[in-house]
Each structure stands twice: as structure tokens, then as C-alpha cells.
């Protein structure tokens, strides 16, 4: 039986844009263009490499998000994923990580899976806890933050480069892995891939399709509450000097004045 891989990806506001909060203190998704989170491209890439190595695998790419989030799915399909699931429901607006992991877990179970692959974190929320939450919901091991990953003989193995040590990890399938931006550059979609993606199936699901009560998600169902969000005051303009041969000494004098030396 073929290896069933589900890649969970996120459609995020472009990090190079001027990101803001909406009046209800959720991320303003209208002000800045969205795209497939850069860190999730690495997840799609590693899923493709695992599939290529296995010779018999099917990759489903999954996202939860508004209508535009289909763009993220198209990108992943054009890179080579086989099919996609888009979970969209107005009731999802303002969902926190706990609720997101619930929706992802139900959708992953709906798809059927042996291996779930994610990026290390989103580039907007950046919490980096959804992989662990999803693994807990699914009741499977997590092998996360990998810079190298491989699947063979019903096991996933990988290398996790931590601060104190580099660890070689192993878990039996079914399992969840997350990969870092050190796992290898993501491929660019080819023209052929882009054309093929247009014909690949995208299944649209809402909360009732997944058997989720709307009260469990959204701002109302969130288990955290943002009380306020304030823009960081701009840093006051500093002193800029041009090095005329004494730049290092001038900088040292400044550091001494600030009591760093």
C-alpha cells in the first residue's frame, strides 16, 4: 500500500509587508497580500523527496484558511503534491492554536495518513507549537525540527540540530515530522507543474463536514484572549558617523559612555 503523506501548510500575510491587527485584534489579512508560508515550502519539498524515495506515495496538502488560502495549495500542487484539502468556514475567524490543531487533526484523519509533515513554525504567528498539538491530538509520535529526514521500513528517522547537541531521532509510523529551513531549498514549480496543478483535485470542507462544532473554534472558542496590541514606538534616530579612519575608536567611546566597556 502506498505511503500516505499529508503536508499541513499555512497561508500567511507576506512578512515583508506592513502587517497589522484588525479591530478585533486578529491578524489583518486584507492589508497585506498572502502567500504560502516560506517555512512550509520546506515541508512540501521534504514530502516530495520522501515520496520520490519511496516510489509509491501520495501527497495531500492541507490548509485551513479563507478563500485566498487556495493560492497556497496551488503552489504546493504545482511543486508536485498530488491533491489538496481546503478547510474553510466563516466560523474559523480568530481561531487560536488549540482550535487550529483540532481542525487540522480532523482533516488529517479525513484524508487518511501514515506521515504528517509540517514546517517548523508559521511566519506570522511563529508560535511553533501546532506540530506538537497536532501530534498530541492524533496520538502519534512527533519527530520535529529536523534538518534531515528519511522514511524506510515503517520508520521515520531524522537529525535534529539543537543548541547543546545534534540528535539522531527515530519513530515508527504513523508519525508527524516538522522540518527546518536547513532541510534543503524548496524546488521552484516548473511550467509543466503549474499547468498540471490546475487539474489536480482540491477538496473543500467546512466544519460540519469534519464534525466540528463551530463553538469549539473561532474567536469565541479560543482558549487565549488578546487584550491589546500596540505598535512598537519607532526607535529614536541614532547617531550615524562615517568612518574617516577613527570609526572604531568613536564606536568604542560611545560604548564606554553607555557603560558597556
Amino acid at each position: 500500500m502506498s505511503l500516505r503523506i499529508v503536508v499541513a501548510v499555512k497561508y500567511v500575510p507576506d512578512a515583508t509587508g506592513d502587517r497589522h491587527f484588525a479591530d478585533d485584534l486578529t491578524t489583518d489579512r486584507d492589508a497585506v497580500d498572502g502567500l504560502l508560508s516560506e517555512l512550509d515550502e520546506y515541508a512540501v519539498e521534504q514530502a516530495l523527496q520522501i515520496a520520490e524515495a519511496s516510489g509509491d506515495a501520495e501527497i495531500t496538502v492541507l490548509t485551513v484558511g479563507p478563500e485566498d488560502a487556495k493560492d497556497a495549495l496551488r503552489k504546493a500542487l504545482s511543486m508536485g503534491a498530488h491533491k489538496a484539502i481546503h478547510v474553510e468556514d466563516d466560523a474559523l475567524h480568530g481561531t487560536d492554536v488549540i482550535g487550529t490543531s483540532l481542525v487540522l487533526a480532523k482533516a488529517v484523519e479525513h484524508a487518511g495518513y501514515d506521515l504528517v509533515v509540517t514546517g517548523m513554525a508559521s511566519t506570522d504567528g511563529t508560535a511553533g507549537v501546532v506540530p506538537a498539538l497536532l501530534a498530541e491530538r492524533l496520538g502519534i509520535p512527533q519527530v520535529t525540527l529536523l534538518s534531515e529526514v528519511a522514511v524506510a521500513d515503517g520508520k521515520v528517522t531524522g537529525r535534529r540540530d539543537g543548541d547543546a547537541a545534534s540528535e539522531q531521532l527515530e519513530a515508527s509510523l504513523p508519525a508527524l515530522v516538522s522540518v527546518t529551513d536547513q532541510s534543503g531549498e524548496a524546488r521552484y514549480p516548473s511550467f509543466k507543474g503549474i499547468m498540471a496543478a490546475k487539474k489536480k483535485p482540491v477538496e473543500s470542507l467546512d466544519l460540519s463536514d469534519l464534525g466540528i462544532d463551530a463553538a469549539e473554534v473561532g474567536l469565541g472558542g479560543a482558549w487565549t484572549a488578546v487584550q491589546d496590541a500596540t505598535a512598537r514606538p519607532p526607535r529614536t534616530a541614532g547617531t550615524i558617523v562615517k568612518d574617516e579612519g577613527e570609526g572604531g575608536k568613536q564606536l568604542a567611546a560611545y560604548l564606554a559612555e553607555q557603560k558597556f566597556i
Binding site: P141, W223, A229, K242, I261
Partner: protein, 320 residues
Amino acid sequence: MAEVLVLVDHVDGAVRKPTLELLTLARRIGDPVAVHLGPGAETAAPVLAEHGAVRVLTADAPEFTDYLVVPKVDALQAAAAATSPVAVLVASSAEGKEVAARLALRLGSGIITDATDLVAGDDGPVATQSVFAAAFTTKSRVSHGVPVITVKPNSAPVEPAAAAGTVEPLAVTFGELATGTKVVSRTPRQSTGRPELTEAAIVVSGGRGVNGAENFSVIEELADSLGAAVGASRAAVDAGWYPHTNQVGQTGKSVSPQLYIANGISGAIQHRAGMQTSKTIVAVNKDAEAPIFDLVDYGVVGDLFQVVPQLTEEIKARKG
């Protein structure tokens, strides 16, 4: 007074600094109860007591070192059942955040990650977070269940506050998933003798302008003259000049030192996300238009290979 669980981050009983910072924050909310898992509790307990732990719950088993994440979740869940805490605090390390996430689901709790400050509030602790590449500061609280909060290093001072620190064994029953993620081998990193990047008071970083792995010695010498940690931009790491563990930025470490010195770093959003909350920012860059100069308290437009060695020499001279 209500108890606050603090998961101890340690290496064989040597307590890491972020845990002591957690104890400072925990004391604002209640009585800190430290949870020490794995070997070395007898070494750690006096240090934890000295920084405010009223109790130290300990458990040691091979599972804590041979398998990742879930054994610690099983133990913290047992500790939560034994204490009925008003909050659970965990350091924002890679494993810490994952432990906190799984624990939150088991406790039916909301989770807040990467807090940079924590105070008591009418409806439970209020956490400060820095978001959207530090462009915004938010204040949030957990509205469901026992708050589970992970806190970034350098978010609070380490304060001595002697307490009883009574050592008590914690009974832990491991679930089926505890042995799910096996550590097959572990290769410790060679110590550089420099401070931890995320914990350092001063960080000296190099970027594209350093132009080669061999040139990073210029950055390291400046760092050593100040007793600083060494950081690198993504461009420098992607080029293979410096290890990824030293990367500062969105996909690397987020640092908030007293002083950040950026050398040959343009200051793209990816980098700013990881250092923008530093107290004092200094930059050396030959491009006067580099966005890093929008952030600095003091900047030198010039060749880093001229400016930085001169700075290092001057610091050494001033320090005598």
C-alpha cells in the same frame, strides 16, 4: 498561596539561567514549585530553593533522556494533578514549547508562547508578546483552563529569594506514547566558551559583509573582547560561513540583549525579527542606505575590516 509549576531546564542538574528567570516571574503569580526531571536533582534543588522554589518535585527515569517530549509531558501532567497549580511556566526552548503544547491539550488549557514578560492580573497572569517581527507588542491571557505559558530567555532578572525548596519525589506513570520518539544518538556540541546566544547580555553578529568563513575571526575577536555571544545573519549561515545554531532572525534565534552589534548586516525583516527588541543597537556597514541604520542607537558607515579590528583593539586598551 496558590502554586505555580516551573519545569526545570537543566543539564545533569546544572540549572540553566532561563529557569531562574521563570522562578522570578512565577513569584509574581504564586509560590513556585519546581519540577526537576532526569538526573542531578540533588545538585539542582539548592539552587532552585535559593531562587524561590517552595517545593522541588523530582522524578528520574531513562525515558527522560532517551526519548523526547512526551515523557516530560507525562511527568508535568502528574505534577499538575498533584498540585492544582494556577499556572505552568516552561522555558521557550525547542523541546520546552513542545512539552507545553502537549501538556496544554491534556489539561484542557490555552497556551501562550514566547512571552517576554508576565504579571499577575484579575483574570490570571497577563503575558506580553512581541509579534510581527517585533513591530507590535501584545498583552494576552489564557481564558480556558490552567494557563500554560512559555517564556523567552532574558525576560526577567534572576533574583535570589530563599525558600524552603523541599524535595519531594513525583510519581510518574508513562503512557504508551512516552517511548514514541527515540533518541538514537546524541552528539554534544563543542563548547566555544562563549555565552549562550539567547542568554547573552551582549551579542556581536556578522552578515553578508563578513564575506567568508575565515573572516568570522574578526567578529569572534570583538565578541571575546566584550565577553559576548556570536550571532550570524541568515545570509552568512546560508553561505556556510557560520553554524545555523548561531543564526539570529526569524528562522533562527530571537535575541534581546542589552547590546547588539551588527556587522556587515543589511537589516532585512528576516534579521530584524530576531534582534529588534535589543536594548541598545549598534551597526557597522559600508552601505549608508542599509535598513539596519534605521534601528541603531549608534552606527558607523565604513568597512567593517577597518572599523571592527580598531574597535576590538580600543576595547582591549580601555579594559587594560
